[in-house]
Symmetry: D2
Subunit: 342 residues, 4 copies
């Protein structure tokens, strides 16, 4: 019997990507699709790439609309998920694609988001140590941020193996879909095409505490994170360049061994052959994470680089992967490691 | 039992896209993959987005390599398909993604390609009148060109309904993957980003006689085609703007009725709601064709516009669709109308 | 003594491009810069590429601010120019970069713009027959639209020489800056990158009557125009593909002769050598128009293609060129035919 | 009397950009233009954006062709400059836009380039301490690499003021023109559009020793550099994100004061107002360097970010700036801080 799924926030990029994936998920039946400002509009006008759903009409994000589903995905602005989740009952699987329930540190939440902390849900990054167990059978899932997904999967094996020093320096480039669909002047095509620019510099990006949480857990000790996000002239993709001082005795071989061990059985994380480096084009539309790591011997630093699709593995694909685990389905159902390139 | 498929020319863009589709085709087992200059290389180095095939190694394009398959796709440079096809035997389904067997007019072939005409195979555009019947059970298929696919599906309903005058004027924009993977200076990223440019102007593009063939067949009389292709700063997609004089009595209603009738039951061709126009992003990676038509009353012309993905419906998706028909499978197996956007 | 210039609407793309050019114009002193919603802001925040003006602050668009200048450029939304111009007095050179005063046909204005016609000013396309004379000493100039600039310069020589039939079919691709800086969802980088899409299809684009006006004047008889604009994934540039039936007796030689004669002495219009076709990258940031023409003998049509920078020759460069003529300066002062490429 | 200038290597991107600048340099007369594989071709076919030079024909790079000029710019592949320079005589100003004479450390040269060190010429980055003095009256200039230009101007003030620790971590994104015009598969538009990818990871990029040289000189002690370059989907521009540990006592104020002091009188380096960050679009085609710096207090690191146009300030503009100084002209002659945006 099909799993009946509702999507709250179906008009944005996260919601659209989720529907793209759910349309080919063999166990899922797509139920209510909601939006607020867009309620009443045809999905064909809002998400013209989803032709099989073109005739569907968005409903308001209301309890009676979301009722009666096995799974409800929330693709809402920050701060709105808790109120909706409360109305859904404990037996519904609620998967929050926003930030509200990602952080365990309430103080960090309040510092970065400026509002009371809503709580902490099981964290939807199964590739982290203990990650799958936390999700199995859970009725609540907090989907990780896109940058923390890319960064954690690039660096955690080095931290878990005790190879990396506690001060991570990370620069990541993201496609513009990461900034959402609300029209803002600096996101106009005229502005972003042909331009690279940083934003949220100096430790103020809201994904920073989530990286600190994940890397620290892997390291078993506090890790500081210097994180600089940049906006790249492309629609999708994150390339995360992550470095940390090498601990004494680190070699190219010990590094590679740690990553091979960490990812040997992971269906979505692919450690590339030596000498080949990730490109975001390779994972366009796929749930794969491609990773490579090197030891810069002159600077004595570890350089770990990952590429993901920010909307797929970084948001909606990660959400589906967690749904699969929570429901006891095969983790890879409805997901792919095949990118759309060139 | 799985259909065993070989791909000759697996390192290029057409071959890569074909493999992307075949990987999710439930009836297919991917057999030999060949290349000439790239024989011996890992596919992971050549097509890094196809992670499930990353470890496969290209073999030479030789009869003994291609033997023992049910279907052989040829993604070879023009003029090389006939020699390979001859060696494959009459019981193998051979699908030529090149131009060699598309034209019925040998003189047109020789004028545009400058070499002897190899022959004519059943033409793989099932949406044309009589198109499916020609493919059912066939052991040879000529996959249409990407531009003729977009143009024919935009204009044939108008011609078939007797609404359009016999002089078509067409301007199409294509992504750069249509020009292939062989490195040439004018195809460098530095050259194409931020630039639109025409090429093959003045009726010399090799896809012109194929359009003349298709539009003339639909019209039941000769049609002339003024075709100007342009190179757009994007990897994929064709937007074809096709116009012809309106015959006396044409109205917006008669036009729309003709297109609705033509495409009511087509699984891949979607006539958009009135007022919505095609965008190539909507069909990125999908086998869909989105079409819209209007009557410019002041100029008294029909404007029909289509968008396709040149590599999917325009090449490899069209090839798989024809394979499905030739093998008696459901025509949509392994194909989608869901695009990857934004 | 320097010409003192004010710019009303300095925060948008047209105003920004105008300032870019005026900054290197040797006869000009930049005076008041105004905006409405942006009044009070630093230009450095709005136009960060204009470093020499970074500290300037926008003032409101008010008569007392614009008073005391020799030249006032209006880069305002449609319909606002007349009221501002009236307050400026007859001795001030007023150059309207909007549409308000371009059309001679009041009925066409009202049909396309839905408001009363404000009047007709000398038309700032000096390359048209009689174009310069109309501008010399004038105190009012209507700057042409970007598409009409590209299209008129591509086709007028064929019409003026009696070589082209009276039904023009035009498809043009424009960079996104032509759509302005006001944030709208379909202009987001995520939407436009990787996508080509048409808009204003079927004769409804407001630049159509301006093309009809210019081509008809060149032909000496009415010309109908089928015009389809498309949005291309680039910030700047227009590529206009313009076709018309060839009149009996037209040859490649007669066509070329007509264009050579028309543009032999033009400082900004360059007829390319035979076989070379325009690319928008060549004119990025330059005031040049590159043109090529061919005779498609099979379809018996003339294909004339031009490339311009929509913001330079298509808007602000054309405006400066007209200012130079109106003031009796050398027409090329402060302008260049050197593009910024790649 | 005009300075007569020859350009060896006029068909590539560096040579083309140099000609773009020299065309508007009021003191320069453009003499011989040479190429090797392209000798005999019209510049209009190779650099179609340089319309005023379209009719010029490339000559071979030979001593008799380069003779008789006051200045010779070398835009040649690595390793070829020394042989050409030797033939030019000591009174000719020779400006090498390649790497051959940049490094003072012969061992570093041999390690990174694998060939004997040709020597060291005065280094063309006047904004470095003592930089101008080294260039005044010099007859030989080594133009810095594009990445070292961006990185050195971002970080040297922090090092010179003793604020930054000796381990710099740098991630930079470059437009594709930095990789040159020779066609290679990974530089095709189809490959680079929509993709970010790293290269030369792990300390192996040849610009690394040049950064070590510059940062170490500013610091007065050895500095290690972890440098990761990435290829961005744009034609031009470098965004360099440069970080180093903050020395004890560093504050936002002390950092800003150091940068304000360093760049107060620099004509091309602009420290942005607090809170505004560099974007490469702002410097497209300009010789400006826009810089911002922050103190990430949680990670206790300095984050300095610069944007340049890799072809202008990063190559040809820097070369012209050094020429101006060497010849005793005003340093800004023929150069601009106005970018072409959007």
């Amino acid at each position: 019997m099909a799993v009946r799924v509702a999507v709250a926030g179906a008009s944005g990029y996260a919601g659209g990507e989720l529907l793209r994936l759910l349309l080919t998920h063999p166990e899922v039946e797509i139920g209510a699709l909601t939006g607020n400002s867009n309620a009443g509009q045809r999905l064909g006008a809002l998400q013209p790439h989803l032709l099989p759903l073109a005739g569907r009409v968005l409903e308001p994000t209301a309890p009676e609309v979301l009722a009666g589903h096995d799974v409800v995905f929330l693709a809402l602005p920050h701060g709105q998920s808790a109120a909706v989740a409360e109305q859904l009952g404990p037996d519904v699987l609620v998967i929050d694609m926003g930030a509200d329930f990602r952080l365990t540190d309430a103080a960090a939440w309040e510092r970065f988001y400026g509002s009371p902390h809503a709580g902490t849900w099981p964290y939807g990054l199964p590739e982290l140590p203990g990650g799958r167990a936390a999700l199995e059978g859970s009725k609540r899932v907090a989907v990780p941020g896109c940058y923390p997904t890319a960064v954690s999967l690039a660096l955690c094996p080095a931290y878990a193996a005790g190879l990396a020093g506690p001060e991570a320096v990370i620069v990541a480039a993201s496609g513009t879909s990461g900034a959402g669909k609300a029209p803002k002047p600096h996101l106009l095509g005229s502005e972003v095409m042909g331009s690279m620019s940083p934003y949220g510099v100096g430790g103020v990006h809201r994904h920073t505490p989530e990286m600190i949480q994940n890397l620290g857990a892997a390291a078993g000790e506090p890790v500081t994170v210097s994180f600089t996000p940049t906006l790249a002239p492309m629609s999708r993709g994150i390339l995360a360049t992550c470095t940390a001082a090498a601990r004494p005795g680190v070699t190219a071989e010990s590094l590679r061994a740690a990553y091979e061990k960490a990812y040997a059985d992971e269906p979505f994380v692919h450690l590339l052959p030596e000498g080949q480096w990730p490109a975001t084009a390779s994972v366009h539309g796929s749930n794969a994470v491609v990773v490579q790591v090197a030891h810069d011997t002159a600077a004595d630093r570890i350089i770990a680089i990952s590429a993901i699709d920010n909307l797929t593995k970084g948001t909606a694909g990660g959400a589906v992967q967690s749904m699969n685990i929570a429901l006891g389905l095969d983790e890879t159902t409805g997901l792919t490691t095949i990118g759309v390139a060139p």
